[in-house]
Every structure is written in structure tokens, then in C-alpha cells.
Symmetry: C2
Subunit: 214 residues, 2 copies
């Protein structure tokens, strides 16, 4: 049996996520179909790029008409692994952790934060929307009980590596890492790093460049 989900490039995957959001907006507007050019404009890319991206997992469009919004939305959800819920544990109940816990788009997409951990005694025992903050010392037990597949790591740089290693050993399969360090983990653990300083610095670089070049 050939897989329903083929390998797609990293940049294509990220664009698919943008297309998904755009398609939801189109659905809300009642659109039945959308042409690659329209989807591209709304998602900030080009028509050719959209068609290439979509063609990498089969023909979904109709010539002369475009893509049917509903089926395309369903197919992208499938590609991105969003047709089933994911069990997530959040480590770090600081400000970033708090923002992520409350981020509505995560739960909309089926990412369920089953538990919250922190190492600060002042935070342990606190309750966020019915979820009690537990001690990070119990990481392994919490992960096992929750059968967590994904860890969101929102802790200071100094604590990240150790917690990530323990989570990996406890069987977590993917980590979304907000700590500004490169985690060294076994290859079978997927890591996606989000570094806010990098984002701001990329912006300041662009501004300096614009100054110099006009």
C-alpha cells in the first residue's frame, strides 16, 4: 500500500499550513472553489508555487475552475497530520508557556495540552483553566500518564537540554522548542525550534540593509 502522506519539502509544509488557514477563511466566506492565483495572493506566494505545492500530493484541481475548497482543506489537514488529536505536555509555566497554553489556534487544530509542568515551587499547584501545574521533577510520570507525543518546551536556555533528554528517554516523539539552544537528541525525536530573537534580528538586518541600499 502506498502512503497517503508523501514526503514533501519543509518549505512546502510550511506553506501548506498557510493554505489551510486561507482555505478556512474561504470556507467561512462561502467560497466553493478557489484558483491557484487567488489562493496565492491570500497566502502571500505565487500561483505557480501553489500549484507545485499541491501537485506534490496528487491532482486536486479542476482545469478552468480551480480547487474545491472543502476537499482541498481536508486533504491538507491529512497531510499535516491534523485529522487526529495530538497529546501535548507543556513544560514551562512562565509567560511564554502561558501564552502558548491560551493560544486558541492550537486547540482548534487538535493539539491538546494535557498537562503543565514547571520547576518553580511558587507556580506548582497553580491551576490554569482546570489544569494543575505539576512539578517538572515528575516529567517522566506525567508524560507516561498523558501518553504524550509532543512536548512544548518553554523554559530558560539552561534547563532545556536536560528536560528534553528526559522527555526523549520517556518516549516523546516531537518537541517544539522555544529555548534559544540547539537541543542534542536522538535522531528519532523531531525537534522544531522557534527562536524569537532570531526573528527580530532578521528584521533588524533587513532594516539596516534597506538603509544602506535605499
Amino acid at each position: 500500500m502506498t502512503s497517503l502522506v508523501r514526503s514533501v519539502s519543509e518549505s512546502t509544509v510550511r506553506r501548506l499550513s498557510l493554505y489551510l488557514r486561507t482555505l478556512e477563511r474561504l470556507q467561512a466566506e462561502g467560497a466553493e472553489t478557489v484558483a491557484s492565483g487567488d489562493l496565492a495572493d491570500r497566502a502571500g506566494t505565487t500561483a505557480a508555487q501553489v500549484r507545485k505545492d499541491l501537485s506534490s500530493f496528487g491532482s486536486f484541481g479542476t482545469r478552468g475552475l480551480g480547487y474545491r475548497v472543502g476537499p482541498l482543506h481536508a486533504r491538507i489537514r491529512e497531510i499535516l497530520g491534523l485529522t487526529r488529536p495530538w497529546r501535548v505536555v507543556l513544560v514551562g509555566a512562565g509567560r511564554i508557556g502561558s501564552a502558548l497554553f491560551a493560544y486558541p489556534h492550537f486547540r482548534e487544530r487538535g493539539f491538546r495540552i494535557e498537562a503543565i509542568l514547571d520547576s518553580d515551587p511558587a507556580k506548582i499547584g497553580g491551576v490554569w483553566e482546570g489544569v494543575t501545574i505539576q512539578s517538572a521533577a515528575h516529567l517522566e510520570q506525567v508524560l507516561a500518564r498523558a501518553e504524550a507525543e509532543i512536548l512544548i518546551l518553554a523554559v530558560p536556555a539552561g534547563a532545556a537540554q536536560e528536560l528534553a533528554e528526559r522527555a526523549a528517554a520517556a518516549g516523546v516523539r516531537g518537541i517544539l522548542n522555544f529555548a534559544p539552544v540547539r537541543l542534542r537528541l536522538p535522531d528519532e525525536v523531531e525537534v522544531n525550534n522557534v527562536n524569537l530573537a532570531v526573528e527580530l534580528e532578521a528584521l533588524s538586518h533587513a532594516l539596516v540593509l534597506a538603509e544602506v541600499q535605499g
Copy 2:
């Protein structure tokens, strides 16, 4: 006069930011020099990549020895535009805004959040570390008074476009956008989008792929 800051690819810029952080760690460890291989290991790339990245803005290394940590650090700061402070205004005093305001790495790098705005009357008038939250209705005046160059946009998707347009018209040069929408703005305004849902969805895609492919 040739520019001190040449055009470098987007991915190189992002890696430079990682190198910068690594160099700071090396400085703290008291290292005088670092070889491309070592820098690569710590930053999560390859020695050849490091050398290519660095060679794009001049020869800085010494054969047989490596790169001198201090001067390289200084040069990368210059490339990234971090040798002078940036005046930043934060729009959105929700959870993400709160996390960004408190994020220590921003102020360490010279990004100064001069003002905070929100449109929620319940938040306006509140004070965060001495900064009073003002009404988003006064966006233009606040930007002008602060002489803000960068806007951090941490508002719901529905409010982002209008605020971004107003900020652009008021002369902001760069926007770090956390709202999950594509902003349509004049070309001279630099926009860097951070979409947390994309990050988590890229991770879930990778996990599904790993399941299917072994």
C-alpha cells in the same frame, strides 16, 4: 564608499543570529578562538556552511587557528544591525504581548519597547514595569512620539491589517507580526511573520511522516 553590510541570504542571516548566540556562550566560557567545525556543532550546522556564511562578508578567520571570538561577534552584531538600539512599540497586551515584553533576549540585544498599546479598555491604563498601556486609538501619536522604527504586532487576526496599515502610514519601517494573517503593506515596510500554528503543524507533519516511513 562600499557598504559595511552586504546583502546576505535570508537563511544565512538566520544562521548568523544563531552564531551570535553561540559566540556569546563561547565568550562566557573564555574561549579566544573557535574553529568552524566547533561553531557548526554548537549551532547545529556544518563546518562548510559556517565558513560559507562567514566568507560572504569578508575573511575573518585565521588558517590553522579558526575565528577570533570577540571580533567575529562584533562583526555579526554589525551585520545584523545590533550595534545601535531600536525603538520598538508593542501593540497587543494579551498573553503573547506580555511574553514578548518580558522576553529578556530582546532588551539584551537593544530592542527597546518604548510603548505598549491595546484596544481593550480593561487593559488600557495598566502598567507593566513602568510602561503604561495606552489606547490603540492613539497609535499614530504614540509612534510619532516614540519615533518608533519597529512595531511588534501581537493582536488577533481581525485587527492586524488595519493596525499594520496605520503604523506603516505613520512611518514604521519594520513589523514583527504574530497575527496569523498575511499583511498587505507597501513594499518599503519590512514584515517578518511568526506563526506559531505553522510551527506546531510542521512538527505534526514530521511525526506523521515518521510513522508512515518508519
